[in-house]
């Protein structure tokens, strides 16, 4: 492997690697704005200046490829001065409204200004101002904060496949916007906010909700489809505030879709059933765990019983259900459900050419690998028990008595005779197998809401009730 030197440290590199990447490997962080590893290189922010021996001028590290024996200095006086000058220009029009900006605390402009800028400002002229623009349901634009890095334009063109963001006019009058102020169309609009190095493109869903540094971060996996995008749940005080993608070059690279990003909402929706309920003569009513467990146990003792398990459940939950079913009684049938049109992994495939998959549940392949068979047609049995993680689409159920165990909202569980609330993906740990066979772990970010219990605990309650009934 060829070698070069960054701040005196010898580093190996692959041909075609730029100095930002090579320096990172040497433990040297080069400040960037317009450069993003997932996008093309334009070298227009001029923040990543480095000095290369034998080259007369400062070079931009993002567009300079490492070469054999190259000697790179990132801390020389010339570099410091160059970066300071760049920072001064970038802040000419920036409003410095960090105290009310959502990006504060995770802002590249803030970090780089602190690390490489000057503490003093010579500029005393008036700053240009723009009116905030509503860019659809996901993004709100504040042009005053923009530094024209064009990451958003390149993201749209290169990743989302839609060139909807434009740079109108030039120089001081530039405006990064959509054509004629149209609303954003892409289903990946949340990424605009992630890649924006300033607080210019903010997520409407997160605006003014929480300061970034208050959030606790839990690395997990999205359960929204069989892609299994890596993401981070950001939460505080047992409330999830947002989900952001986590880098995984083999699966989702740096991105995620809006459906997955906002999927967490149902887990803290008011309509989610969080207490055990039982249907009596006067309709569904809150009941004690013992009562609901006992009535389910009585119903599954005899007759034709079907366990419907969602392909949104984890491998651990699926195996526990299967083991418990055979321990409860022989002859309980188990079928999986999840999507109306995709029941087997062979029917799954990309739903667009970016990330989305056709299967809208996270563990279709996992359930299949465990040897569980999919339900075909409608669910017909005397007694049906539905186990669900929260995303699987409920099939038509034809039964005398139905119970639901897991995550349901009031509307979904309206036809059920008994409901035992389970954990959503933000509240549990477990394994999901994505469409390509990658086994990935869900991590628990928040405590269960209300009286929700894990599936394994609910199964134990059923088994205990059964053995007590046997002794009596």
């Amino acid at each position: 492997m060829p070698k070069c030197f960054v701040d005196g440290k010898e580093v190996e590199f692959a041909l075609g690697e730029n100095l930002v990447k090579v320096a990172k490997r040497a433990g040297v962080e080069i400040p960037v704005f317009c450069y993003h590893p997932g996008l093309s290189v334009v070298a227009q922010c001029r923040m990543c200046y480095v000095e290369v021996e034998k080259m007369p001028k400062l070079q931009t590290a993002c567009s300079t490829m490492a070469a054999e024996g190259m000697v790179v200095k990132t801390q020389s006086e010339a570099v410091k001065k160059g970066r300071q000058g760049t920072m001064e220009f970038l802040l000419l029009n920036h409003p410095l409204d960090c105290p009310i900006c959502d990006k504060a605390g995770e802002c590249d402009l803030q970090d780089n200004s602190f690390g490489h800028g000057s503490a003093n400002m010579r500029h005393s002229e008036e700053r240009r101002t723009y009116v905030d623009v509503d860019m659809g349901s996901v993004i709100q634009k504040n042009m005053n904060r923009c530094i024209h890095c064009t990451r958003c334009i390149r993201f749209g063109d290169e990743i989302a496949g839609i060139h909807e963001m434009v740079a109108i006019k030039r120089g001081n009058n530039i405006d990064i916007t959509t054509i004629d102020g149209k609303q954003l169309k892409t289903e990946y609009a949340g990424n605009y906010s992630d890649i924006c190095p300033t607080g210019s493109l903010t997520l409407k869903d997160f605006r003014f909700k929480k300061r970034a540094w208050m959030l606790k971060k839990t690395a997990t996996v999205c359960e929204g489809c069989s892609k299994g995008c890596n993401m981070e749940i950001q939460h505080e005080g047992n409330v999830v505030y947002r989900c952001v993608p986590r880098e995984n070059l083999e699966i989702n690279k740096y991105w995620m879709c809006d459906e997955g990003r906002f999927n967490y909402r149902y887990t803290q929706d008011e309509t989610r059933v969080v207490d055990p309920t039982l249907r009596g003569a006067e309709g569904a009513k809150q009941a004690s765990w013992q009562d609901v467990v006992a009535s389910i146990e009585v119903k599954i003792r005899n007759g034709d019983v079907l366990f419907l398990v969602g392909t949104d459940l984890t491998n651990e939950e699926l195996s526990a259900i299967r083991e418990a079913a055979s321990a409860l009684r022989s002859g309980i049938k188990i079928r999986t459900f999840g999507n109306a049109d995709v029941t087997k992994s062979s029917e799954d495939g990309p739903a667009d050419n970016i990330l989305k998959m056709k299967s809208k549940t996270g563990n279709l392949l996992g359930a299949e690998k465990l040897g569980l068979e999919p339900l075909t047609g409608e669910a017909k049995a005397e007694t049906v028990v539905v186990f669900r993680g929260g995303r699987a689409v409920l099939p038509k159920i034809d039964s005398k008595w139905t119970a639901g165990i897991g995550v349901f909202n009031r509307e979904e569980s309206a036809g059920f005779d008994g409901v035992l609330p389970g954990l959503a993906f933000t509240e549990k740990e477990g394994t999901l197998v994505n469409h390509a066979g990658f086994e990935q772990r869900l991590a628990r970010a928040v405590r269960p809401r209300g009286g929700c219990k894990p599936v394994s605990e609910i199964l134990m309650l059923l088994l205990n009730t059964k053995s007590k009934a046997g002794q009596a």
Binding site: D157, H163, E164, V166, A167, I168, K169, I179, D180
Partner: protein, 160 residues
């Protein structure tokens, strides 16, 4: 969508095409030609040029708004473009601009109600040796002073 540009435009483009390494390089001449035909560049024309070049409309928008020669709003019969960059500014371009604004009764960037004059600010016209400079329609008016500007406007008014 109905075509806005004539057969003549497409023929001219066909002649120009071999001169450039790729079709994208044809954006500037295509916009010039389209503007010569329509007087300005309405959104439909920009969309048609984009379709002809084979790029997204957004890219044409970026190019057309970057250069001041392209009119994204309708302009009057006479288009006065006063350079306000460094050399011209030092030689009194700002006074010329405010004189023209008073004389025509419009602000920079506007068109007179009778459609006779449009006044705009121009980036460097590359004639710094003879600053201040104004581009009046397709001609350069160099070493401009307030009298010269006044004369030019009066002459244009009488030519109606």
């Amino acid at each position: 969508m109905e075509k806005q540009l004539s057969q003549k435009f497409y023929e001219a483009m066909k002649d120009l095409e071999p001169r450039y390494p790729n079709k994208k390089a044809l954006i500037l001449p295509a916009l010039h030609q389209a503007q010569a035909e329509c007087g300005w560049l309405p959104p439909e024309v920009l969309a048609e040029v984009a379709a002809y070049i084979g790029v997204h409309e957004a890219q044409i928008r970026e190019v057309a708004s970057f250069y001041t020669m392209y009119n994204l709003k309708p302009v009057g019969k006479n288009h006065l473009r006063i350079c306000t960059n460094v050399a011209c500014c030092l030689r009194g371009a700002d006074e010329l601009m405010s004189y023209a604004e008073r004389k025509l009764g419009i602000a920079c960037g506007e068109t007179t109600p009778d459609g006779m004059f449009t006044l705009s600010e121009e980036e460097c016209l590359g004639a710094c040796t003879t600053a201040p400079v104004m581009m009046a329609n397709d001609d350069y008016v160099e070493n401009l002073d307030i009298n010269g500007l006044n004369d030019w406007i009066e002459r244009a008014k009488n030519e109606r």
